[in-house]
Symmetry: C5
Subunit: 357 residues, 5 copies
């Protein structure tokens, strides 16, 4: 588990310098270009940025998607071609950003967090999007491209996505990112149900760590998803010339989904807190059971053991008539047993009354 997942430049670096405190892993990098309009459609994959440039001159809508960790050089090229702000490019490079939206003249920059399942736990991956009058550039630093369904809708001319402007494409991408939260939270809901059964049965140390893990995952997820509310609010309420009113109806739907995801996160978190309390109480309860058994056994047998010890002492009746006269009685032995059984019986009655078993 790593808690600090943000990349940052060394303090004091000039703004927009596109340097990081740690080296960026050189992973696979894919560029996908789709150039479309109501009637035209062109799709290219695995091309270099230079090969994209001719498409930008067309009046048709151009969507470039960069899948993988973009190196500073590529960012500089893209920045130069579209006239992007260096601070925004820095935010693409230094991934682990808080979701936010920034508007520069004629452009909109949006950072979102895509929740993903990775090695059995939940992580978030940064998606950065630049939108202009007739282009959208998206960067996703992660292994798997989440936007295939959108490409399919573009390809199949499904709905009016091909007729609508770049704002509708932006909406479509954001919708994918936000809706990805549902299957993940559904899975978390199942984890919690399993945990609850464990709690009702025999809670172990693993239950405890599972509760802590889920709580932590929810905390980290919440940190990365919470600001998306503000992003959508800002797009809905702000006066971005690029966002048309018709798209706002759709964005409001996105906003609702964000709220639902946050609602669920918060409810889950409250339930985990309650479960931790139940766990703690269960452990105390079990300790109680264990101690009750010990106490019953010990109090039943320790006093009789003392009694029989007395008659094991080597005081000889022959030496002094005061020495354990019971040894000489005919029913002395039975008398001792009576005492012992009487003590034990009394104890049992006492425990019964205390409702110890």
């Amino acid at each position: 588990m790593t808690y600090f997942t943000k990349r940052y430049h060394p303090p004091g670096t000039a703004p927009g310098a596109l340097t990081t405190a740690e080296a960026i892993p050189a992973g696979p990098l894919t560029l996908r270009l789709i150039d479309y309009g109501a009637t035209e459609y062109a799709e290219k994959e695995n091309l270099t940025f230079e090969e994209c440039l001719p498409y930008l001159a067309h009046p048709t809508m151009t969507w470039i998607h960069v899948q993988g960790s973009a190196p500073p050089d590529l960012l500089r090229q893209v920045g130069a071609a579209f006239g992007l702000h260096p601070l925004a490019l820095e935010d693409v490079l230094n991934s682990g950003q808080r979701p936010k939206t920034e508007s520069y003249d004629g452009q909109l920059f949006v950072v979102m967090s895509l929740p993903v399942r990775r090695n059995g736990s939940i992580a978030t991956e940064q998606v950065s999007m630049f939108m202009g009058g007739n282009f959208l550039v998206s960067f996703h630093e992660g292994g798997e491209d989440p936007f295939e369904p959108v490409r399919k809708r573009l390809r199949n001319h499904a709905g009016h996505i091909r007729e609508a402007g770049p704002d509708h494409l932006l909406y479509a991408l954001m919708d994918v990112i936000i809706d990805r939260g549902f299957p993940i939270l559904e899975e978390v809901g199942e984890w919690i149900e399993d945990l609850e059964e464990d709690l009702l049965g025999k809670p172990s140390k693993n239950t405890l760590h599972a509760i802590h893990n889920i709580k932590r995952e929810l905390l980290l997820l919440r940190r990365m998803l919470w600001p998306q509310r503000e992003v959508l609010n800002s797009l809905l309420r702000g006066d971005h010339a690029l966002i048309h009113d018709i798209t706002k109806t759709y964005l409001r739907d996105c906003y609702d989904h964000t709220i639902q995801v946050m609602d669920l996160l918060e409810t889950y978190r409250d339930i985990m807190t309650s479960m931790l309390d139940v766990y703690l109480s269960s452990v105390s309860m079990r300790l109680n059971d264990v101690m009750r058994v010990l106490t019953v056994i010990a109090t039943l047998f320790i006093p009789p053991t003392f009694i029989v010890g007395v008659y094991g002492m080597n005081f000889d009746h022959a030496t002094s008539p005061w020495n354990m006269p019971e040894l000489e009685w005919k029913y002395g032995y039975l008398f001792v047993w009576m005492i012992i059984i009487g003590m034990m019986g009394g104890m049992l009655v006492y425990f019964k009354r205390k409702k110890w078993f």
Copy 2:
């Protein structure tokens, strides 16, 4: 217990596509139509949507209530007939929505949560309502129709519900939904009173799980009812042409009831938290009692057992005069008993002073 109760479409689906990630259970489906005005009144049950269409042409008020899970086809039909927004239809299909209100031109879409008792626990069922100038379409995905009392009032011409417009009908339905919270919270209040008696008596593991269960139910209920406050606020403050000022007085009453329900929920939740603490303390207290008994018994008898063990050793006075001379004393045995009784008495005084019993 299922925590994730929302239905959702697969991420990336086109908006308004009316598809879900899981199949919708094909349950019984009932359409009820009431066409009414100050003087006219017609009521039909179990008819198909096609049969409803003629009534829509009348200038009278038409209320269609769909009871059960509406299949996508029916939704598409209804949407086409009334010109409803596809995103709103999607929200009807993907039940488990957060209560909300959305206004499209000339129409109002309201989603509410109806709290119901199901298999001994509390659940919420989605009620979706579309309101236009002279119609109201309501969908309730659940077994039992909660709106019979409203139909009765319409039938009996009780109050001025027949003279008033669709906004008053909307109010009447919302009032039923919100007021359903009171009997349910009354029942929860009784559960809590029972639990409290358990706590004062002998709290068991079941008490613990009952506390956790009630807390969880309250959390889930709160999540689904909280947004109704906003819904009413938006209807009261918003400038919906369809909501008349006279209806707002009534909606304000609904708003008050929502607040009262939330107040109670919060208070119950705080009480449950306090009860969990009391439970934990009770368990610790009981452990204390158990341990005190063990300690008293053990400390009373363990040292004397050692003493009698000493005189059980096979050191023979004959071998050495140093070997346990007490064995030869006349009152040696009594002397040993004196020591034992003295030790026990000292212990008892010590425990008394420590207020252990």
Copy 3:
């Protein structure tokens, strides 16, 4: 303890129908009428509402106070005579309302919560007040009439209460209701001081339940008093024609008192939470003490008991020279005692170092 104290009509009842889900207890009912002006003064008690009607025609100020549970019929009569809104009458009937203020044209409706001591615990009773241009009708569902001091001031012509309008009378009644919180909180303060002494001394199970009870009472009281802040705010900030500026100065004083009551409630609640933690820690600490005593005794005596047991075995030195040669030594017995005393001494040093006593 009953948690759900609100009366409500069955869900789906027509608004203003003045019916309740449960029967209203028929308790004693008193009407008190005071008709006053700067110079006139008339006071009547135990009269029927019909007998009040003539006074309403006078231009002088008329105050009718209904003490006890008003039956629906009386409410209907009062409503008809003053032209009160049916929803407001419903709120008078369905007691247990949240404090609120509602303004209908030319009238003001105020619901307040009067904190009272009942059977050793704290409860709240609803006071509902209707104010018009020259009348004020107040309903108090409870046993004891709290407004006697106000009547005395009216009778004695104390201050300018007789010259001032109905808003000043409303202020005087609200002031009584709010100030009733101080003696009750003073008493709660004393309970807490007593509890704190218990905590410092020997906390018992009763301490625990007392803490829980006070916490719960504070929670329930807070729920009923908190909204009074809003009521006063609304009277102060709202543009009610009936509330004059000079009265607002006095209402601001009321507002301050409400805040002080809430402040105290919150502080008490925080202190109770802290006390519960202290209680839990005390119990653990005591368990620690108990266990330390047990451990010291057991570890001091269990090993020596083993030693003396060894010499109690029936191995005979005569059978084999390996069998316990110490039995034949001259100082064998003393040697065994040395070992035992050495072990115990070592243990004591160890415990001393661990600071166990």
Copy 4:
């Protein structure tokens, strides 16, 4: 410890009646008058209010400070001389008020809380101030006069306090009151540091009660200091004709100090909460240690004690060859010791593996 420190009049008393529910203690009472301007300066002590009256006629600034509990008669005199509002006078009498500011025409009334150290704990004392065009009357119900440094500055003509108006004097007094919080919080900080050392060493019951006490003091202090923020805000933002812009710069400094005091209070409170958790955990940890020792000793010696008990039974080998043949073996005794040592060794290995020591 008394939790309820507010004085109040009996509910239903006429507003401004200057009566209290309990008698006001007749303590020492001192009036100090300073009459000053840029060039004039007169200071009088221990004079009656009648002797102050001539100074009020001068156009110079007059500051009257009343130290001690002012009796209702004095308040009435002062009220009459300056035309003060009876509700404000009531607030001076009923000390324990929440800090607040109230503006009547041409006058400003400010209530502040002065934190003081009293009998080893922290208390707050009410300071009430009336300010008009050329006068300021201050009341401090407490033993020690905190305003000596201000008088010194006036006497020595330090800064421009003599040239400035009454608002600067008000600022100077408020500054003293607020800054008194710093030395007190510094002391609390030292208490916390001491407590933390205790926690790291050997936490005792006293540590627990010290934590609870500090928490409670912080809670009570917070309740009385928190509203000072609002007081300063209202003076800064409000449009009081008496507060000049130049004074606002100084009041903003006061505001900063108030925030710093509150910040510290909140941080301390969070730290105390964390320390209570640490305390609870420490106690559990110590119990663990104690129990581990007990368990190790008991499990090491109880089974061997059983073994040696076996060979102490009076079964005679002579009676039956099945009776303990080891007693007749040559190395039987050593064999028994081997078994015992083996058992103990096995246990030790087991405990070692469980990391119990």
Copy 5:
């Protein structure tokens, strides 16, 4: 650990008096002056303030940085030369201020908190900055100068920092201060990861104190960093003539970083709270394990010890036929063993069923 780190003047001191309650440590003090424009550049170190004065007359931008605790005399000189407000100078002297911004005419005063690592824990150091039309004076009370990277950028003419005005320099300094939070939080993140491993392994008392320490550090850090949000907000939203719009784009980036730092702090704090709960549960769980072993051993061996004690009693079969006839049986000894083994076996089955091992 010292909790109270603010320096303050004695209550009642005249405003701007530049005196402190405690002596200021006379540490090393360095003045660094940079005088720059697009084309000019002069850098001086270790000069006195008198030597700085000639540079101030130039129209070029002058940056004076004072490293170390500035004595009151120096502050008075600087204040006189630039016309700074005495209250602001007081805030420089009384370090430990809350971050804030204050605007006097033609000047801007900003206080920031620089997080640093000191003796293994985290502290904050105050940085105070005065900005005017063509100068910036910065004070940093601490050992190490954090602004070397900015000087380097100025020297190397990196970016447009030399062309931009004093507001860009202010931004550059604030950026350094805020970004210093990232490496520190990264380190805290590693501490937490280490702690979590400890928790999963064998949590000890040190784990507990480490958790408490990190929580406390986060609390103190939060207190000093939280207000930086407001500082940036005020610079961004306020109408400071000295802050140009182009700089605001950069300051918005700073604001984002502040939010990210606070987000991380809050998340860490929530995780620490959860870890404390897990710790407490782990300790209880371990206690459970220990007690289970003790209980199993004790209950297995205590009853048999009693049995063998019985047969060690000196009742002689010869005295009475009732005395332990088993001693005379041929298989008596085996019979006793059977009983013992039977008891132990029964116990083991019982424990197995209770799932104790």
